[in-house]
Symmetry: C2
Subunit: 154 residues, 2 copies
Amino acid sequence: MLRIAKLTDYATVVLATLAERPGAHASATELATLARLEPTTVSKVLKTLAQAGLVESRRGAAGGYRLGRAPEAISVADVIVAMEGPIGLTECQLHVGLCHHEGHCGIRGNWQKIGVAIETALQSVSLADLVPGRRRPTAIPSVTLPAEVPGAER
Amino acid sequence: MLRIAKLTDYATVVLATLAERPGAHASATELATLARLEPTTVSKVLKTLAQAGLVESRRGAAGGYRLGRAPEAISVADVIVAMEGPIGLTECQLHVGLCHHEGHCGIRGNWQKIGVAIETALQSVSLADLVPGRRRPTAIPSVTLPAEVPGAER
DNA sequence: TCAATCAGGACCCGAATGGTACCATTTGGC
DNA sequence: GCCAAATGGTACCATTCGGGTCCTGATTGA
Ligand code: FES
Ligand code: FES
């Protein structure tokens, strides 16, 4: 399916909600009602996001969460990486030596390039672009697949 | 993870193997030994690919599979769609009316745009680009996020 | 006729995901 | 000083999904 996890989707919704109230801290339950999600789930998502530094947390009474950086500085790629770990289409793309066919499979390098292209595309979309009302036309800049084939033999 | 399924990865490997022997039909077991994969798995993959028209099959003795089109005409997006169904980052991106938050969530449209951008990137990489020995520098053309916000208010 | 080969399922098992609950820790207010 | 509010962290369970195998039937060439 090439899908992101549901929790990642929730994360974007919660972050978008947070982006609409800059500055002040908002509690997890408060955000949950605003986003109409389960409080427990929102809490879980926020914990993960806090570990990644995308949101800042304050504990204790009157605590809560707020964005760790400006909405423009948080990309969709950041959210995905925070929630699901490094972006990689295939398993063997991330670590070398795990795949049985590395020796005779010339595809690996290409998967890596494709992954980089997608990641670049995701990085150029920021939270500010997702927040309704603050929309502005966004153009993903020319995503070029780095053709580092040395001698382009054929 | 934003990963593709393993079977999809296998599909690209098998297709790449097929691309190296144009014309003649190759049996599933034959392809399995070439790609060093489980014959049963390769068979399963090929069946799926045949349904999508990416490979042509011939039954009976001396039967087998061959590419349905030229390697240049088969994109990575085609393979993913054939193996995993329509590309969509989120669930609510594919069908309208399933998500509870559609009413007040302005994110959905943006996810769709991001999905289109990724799909475009995947479509511009063909099988021919993946086959080792036939490599040629590939540039994913300027993937532009269609900013169809009517009045770009801000 | 027979053997090879694809077609189309059914089936099973393990892993991952979504979701929930519990308890410790911190912090502000009374 | 104490309590309520709120996060931090972990552990847990049910369900789903993906990977993988196997079986039976249909087709085709020798
Ligand atoms: S499939 Fe893993 S290296 Fe090619
Ligand atoms: S999360 Fe489903 S429409 Fe926004």
